[in-house]
Amino acid sequence: TGDEQAFQQRIDEGIRIEPKDWMPEPYRKTLIRQISQHAHSEIVGMLPEGNWITRAPTLKRKAILLAKVQDEAGHGLYLYSAAETLGVSRDELVGDLHSGKAKYSSIFNYPTLTWADIGMIGWLVDGSAIINQIPLCRCSYGPYARAMVRVCKEESFHQRQGYDLLIQMCLHGTQAQKDMCQEALNRWWWPALMMFGPSDADSPNSAQSMQWRIKLFSNDELRQKMVDQTVPQAEYLGLKVPDPDLKWNKDQGHYDFGEIDWDEFYAVIKGNGPCNRERLAARVNAHKEGQWVREAFSAYANKHESEQAVA
């Protein structure tokens, strides 16, 4: 249709789409799914890191971690707001999360078992998230692009903090601390690579999303970027990346790396990761336990609104 052509032309010209602009229904739906998944990931992502707040080993590290998890709640808020500009309510989106209909990033279905995991999440998980998200600062939908600018700025701060935590443990720490980091890297490396999603060959919706400029690089391109960026950082830390096939490819100017265990990837997506049930249960439980609070807030608001109306 003419609308669609005009819409695509604006996108091709790099003009931002804003909430009041006409947009094709599939564009709207895809964006809602993508933004809300991103929002849910921020919220569920509070749990694995939150797991170490009460056990952080110094007061400074505790403050950094608390502030970081608080930032994630903030990201969740902007992103839900960005999704709401597309005509859905936060309640609907949260309902979809709790019913299991909506997804969130599978990485948060892995457990945080030692303090080194907090470093790994900052370094690898936030690192991968940034690589995924920086292009989205230039995506076609205005509210999403603007949310991403703010998110990326904070994420890159988080990533540096995570790496700093690991430098402390790996370069200035005891052997036990170094071992803890290596063991954590062994657990987090592959899940972090999986964060970029299936290989391009298995990613059927990518072409449309790229045309709409809500996806700007292919999964495999971004994954390669992450590997290339991260391997030297691991070397600096003195950690061994748990991939026997990893090696520098001089001709390509890239690292070659081993095959990802896609069975694991799909198992976690289907709900069979180590913590899927625990994560969802924690969110559902918080919501349920908080019901009386939310009800009281609205009862109070209604009461005092009507009082004001009378007065």
Binding site: M46, R55, A63, T174, H287, E289, Y300
Partner: protein, 254 residues
């Protein structure tokens, strides 16, 4: 004076640290996202204050203990926090009632500490009072909305206020430490905060449509002793969790 003020700084540092810990237990589990954010924010403020107090305490003690050694390497009988802040969170209403009762005291105390003759104390108080004035406004606001919300929330809040009440009196008890420091203009007499606290609490509870418990019931010898290291059974578990890494990897730096 140094050892007296060392003790007092420990009390303040431990009290803000333990309350921060309790609030941080809510992170990721709050009743809605905005509450989660706000609660974490208060936890962060209190943690920052705890670090200032404990650092001051370490300097006054003169035994080269830094904030982390004080926080992570003392067992419960060496902790000097008031009992109110170490209690389990309970449901959200319990947490809010505790926070409301604490914030009102904390704000009044910091007002007094802002004019301390000790410049370190005054500086900490001035930095803290801006944060705590927000804490007090927020916890009062939520108390009112939950007290005057639904029948269920009203009942829960009344129960929560009643339950926390018996731990409030301890905040207003003076002893050798506070009296000595008051004599030097370093801290206000804690007893002097009682009447303004009670007035504020009475007004806010009334606005929240809640009944204020008997003021006399706020003080009971069975619910005092935190500042001398006699705690409730809750503190040991909290410290076991908080201190596990420092205790398990002695001498490691993080």
């Amino acid at each position: 004076m140094d050892q007296t003020l060392f003790q007092y700084s420990l009390r303040m540092g431990d009290t803000t640290l333990i309350l921060s810990h309790r609030l941080s237990e809510w992170t990721g589990h709050g009743p809605e996202l905005e509450e989660d954010l706000a609660m974490t924010n208060v936890a962060l403020d209190l943690l920052g204050q705890a670090r200032m107090w404990l650092t001051l305490a370490g300097e006054l003690e003169g035994a080269s203990r830094d904030e982390d050694q004080l926080a992570y390497l003392r067992d419960a009988p060496q902790y000097r926090n008031y009992l109110l802040v170490e209690r389990d969170n309970g449901h959200y209403g319990h947490t809010i009632a505790r926070q409301f009762l604490f914030d009102a005291w904390h704000y009044l105390l910091l007002q007094g500490l802002c004019t301390s003759t000790n410049e370190h104390v005054a500086a900490i108080a001035e930095k803290s009072i801006k944060e705590v004035s927000y804490h007090a406004r927020r916890s009062s606001d939520i108390l009112v909305r939950l007290g005057d919300g639904t029948a269920e929330s009203h009942a829960r809040m009344q129960d929560a206020v009643n339950d926390a009440w018996r731990f409030c009196g301890e905040l207003f008890i003076d002893d050798d430490i506070t009296l000595a420091l008051e004599g030097q203009g370093v801290v206000p007499a804690h007893a002097s905060l009682w009447q303004p606290w009670l007035n504020h609490v009475a007004l806010t509870l009334a606005e929240a449509t809640l009944t204020m418990p008997d003021p006399d019931a706020a003080v009971h010898p069975a619910h005092t002793g935190g500042v001398y290291g006699r705690h409730t059974e809750a503190l040991g578990y909290l410290l076991a969790e908080m201190q596990h890494l420092q205790r398990s990897y002695p001498g490691a730096s993080w």
